[in-house]
Symmetry: C2
Subunit: 429 residues, 2 copies
């Protein structure tokens, strides 16, 4: 592998620019198709067709709950788990590989919208204003999933294709369990490196937390509000349990405050108290309360040990509470159950990406610590390959008026095309 | 009006006993028909038929939102407000009234079940075990609604009927707005006294709180959990608002601690934090949270002045909070908006009920202060008549395994029949 010639770099850069309007239209179409958790069939069918049109021989792989549940890093199934198959496309070089192989991974699942009236435009409209493309998934990460395709299209436009194998992974469940990408791993797909264009502000992720999802449920004896003192309010009781977990969160943040790559993060292990459902009648003391939480762990801590600690914390707290000791809270693991990872510096893949970014963006590639889940942990921990997460500038991820910077998508797509050309090598089509 | 003869008392008592198996079967049928808020058509149709069979010329009265919303004591409409008409039946004496007229009021609406698996039997089965009849509404108050009918049936069984007008009010919305009984008031139905057999442990309600329902909603800017510090968790923000309201609750309990009839109550004005709905994704910082609350006020305090104080408390608290001042909580009044009342002691109606209860139960009638809403406030405040709430022993009202004591229902029905005979007088059919 040798650095690209100035001429090659210029041609690739121009080719990305030449196709960019179409790339943005493709991204808008992805946003418009929508598809909430479990309802990604339409968007995945569309992606399948795109892969097929490009000769990547896509196949669908079903979510295999039995196989997944045997794996230490699998997210826990719940009734909301998507059953939509993931898609694997494969580009094969003409003959023997002349470069390194690569996984290009992107997730097509998106998070909910929240109250639609808090969006300034239809969240599925793909509205463009200035440099911003708006919509659910605009940043996280349909623009990245599109860039995976259009980086290769940029090579094709100038008559080139990668001279090594490219595995395109279009997955779901990245926002909730990570089981889509894990399913690809379980089927044996592997390469020399992986690249995931998540919206990382054009930075490379150096280290990433693991994430666990769980639900705390308190149930008790409900009574008429006039007898309030004889029953106990399950909402209050649940909030006390959450208080204990917040103590634990602080304790973890202290415990791991000198963890490599996490020293500069104020609260890397955020406990997010995210969803509450409780009670059904204003004049009844609520007898049940479900609180969905998400917490993070630093790399090197196993999900199981964290889960054990959470369960112990809740059990110990409940044992000392007069009401909760009689009505012990239940913990249900209902999503992510993942470990974090570190991208070891100095890999050849990273060096190639650094050159590509420098070329595309005109500045040095910097790194960040990610305090949110990313599927790269599958490639890093289980495929044991350099798993690079690098993608465009975006904002209001998971919020209202989510957007991605259009110019940033262009820079990132250019960097990706340059990276592929150098890492995999190119050959005439 | 003169006390009943010993012979009359004995005959009426025996007649209640003779019909009691049928009365319980009728009550079980009422429980089995079920009917949650807004879905009371079947049970009300059944009651209509029962009234009709007895010659009470029942009529249906629609909920008139326009008319109701003009009234100071109307509960606030929401999309869950029942549109099922109330039923008014009327018994007319043969000729001119020889005694006093009476309203017999009972509500057929019930509160939700909660998780069905926390009931020991189907909540609509009408299960009997020993002295207990179980089911949603068993106590509150289908057994009472049945007693209204069967107290009159007991007279009929021995060839008697009230010698004055009886207005039977079968209503809905007692559990949420009080608009059913208020609708009867607005249509001009009135009598010399009212009796409501709510499950009051065979006591008479001397004083009763007013009740207000409201929803606090906080909405903010949601962000990905990795940016948690830049957004604010709407659940946490809402709980802070609730904390401020709990301070106010304490303050009210202090302020009214020497209020007549409320001195012995520890927390008469309970703020019930009853329903929470917040967030939709475990890895998104929740951007909205709705908390439904119920609070009580002592008699003499208007609902409007209490509402004003609540709104001011929340606004003042929000003004001093960095986040809430930018995202002011909204308060939505979505149910009860009612004043409390006092049953002035010494009325002739009360004296007659005292004699009837003594006869039926073998002990003095005692009184209680009710810290839950009752429709009698309509008769007391707006009809300006003695409104007596007196009914059977029951338990787990609004809870799981709600029950009513069968023997207590018999005593109460006997007392009611004796009361009617003395208050209204009787005549041969």
């Amino acid at each position: 592998m040798s650095p690209l010639s100035e001429e090659a770099k210029a041609k690739i850069t121009q080719s990305v620019a030449d196709g960019f309007d179409e790339q943005i239209a493709y991204t808008q179409e992805l946003i418009r198709i929508g598809g909430q958790r479990g309802h990604e069939t339409d968007v995945m069918d569309w992606v399948f067709k795109q892969y097929n049109n490009r000769g990547w021989n896509p196949i669908r792989i079903e979510m295999d709950e039995g196989e997944l549940s045997q794996h230490i890093g699998a997210g826990r199934f719940s009734e909301t788990h998507s059953r939509v198959p993931i898609i694997i496309g494969t580009h094969k070089p003409k003959g023997e590989a002349k470069g390194k192989s690569l996984i290009l991974n992107g997730h097509l699942d998106v998070v909910p919208l929240g109250p639609a009236d808090m969006w300034k435009a239809d969240p599925y409209s793909g509205l463009i204003e200035g440099d911003r493309l708006y919509g659910r998934g605009a940043g996280d990460m349909r623009s990245g999933a599109a860039a995976n395709v259009w980086a290769l299209d940029a090579l094709r436009r100038i008559g080139l294709q990668p001279a090594s194998e490219i595995i395109l992974q279009a997955v779901v469940e990245e926002e909730s369990t990570g089981n889509g990408t894990l399913m690809a791993h379980l089927k044996g797909y592997k390469a020399d490196a992986a690249l995931i264009p998540e919206p990382m502000q054009e930075q490379l992720v150096r280290a990433n937390v693991g994430v666990l999802w769980f639900q705390v449920e308190v149930r008790g004896r409900p009574v008429h509000v006039r007898e309030m003192s004889t029953g106990t309010n399950a909402i209050d009781a649940s909030m006390k349990v959450i208080g204990a977990l917040r103590e634990m969160e602080e304790e973890w943040d202290q415990r791991y405050s000198s963890q490599q790559y996490f020293q500069d993060e104020k609260h890397p292990l955020n406990l997010n108290v995210a969803i509450v459902k409780a009670g059904d009648w204003a004049s009844s003391v609520p007898a049940w309360c479900q609180v969905d939480c998400r917490i993070a762990i630093v790399p090197g801590v196993s999900a199981q040990s964290a889960a054990d600690e959470i369960e112990k914390k809740v059990a110990d707290f409940a044992a000392n509470d007069p009401y909760l000791s009689q009505n012990p809270p239940k913990i249900r693991w209902n999503g992510f159950f993942s470990e974090g990872y570190v991208l070891e510096p100095g890999s050849e893949a990273e060096n190639v990406l650094r050159r590509a970014h420098q070329q595309a963006a005109g500045e040095e590639l910097t790194t960040q610590t990610s305090t949110a889940y990313i599927d790269a942990r599958v490639h890093s921990l289980y495929d044991k390959i350099p798993a690079m997460v690098y993608g465009p500038i975006a904002g209001d991820i998971h919020g209202f008026d989510e957007w991605v910077s259009i110019e940033s998508v262009k820079r990132v797509t250019t960097a990706m095309a340059l990276f592929i050309a150098e890492w995999c090598g190119v050959e005439e089509m």
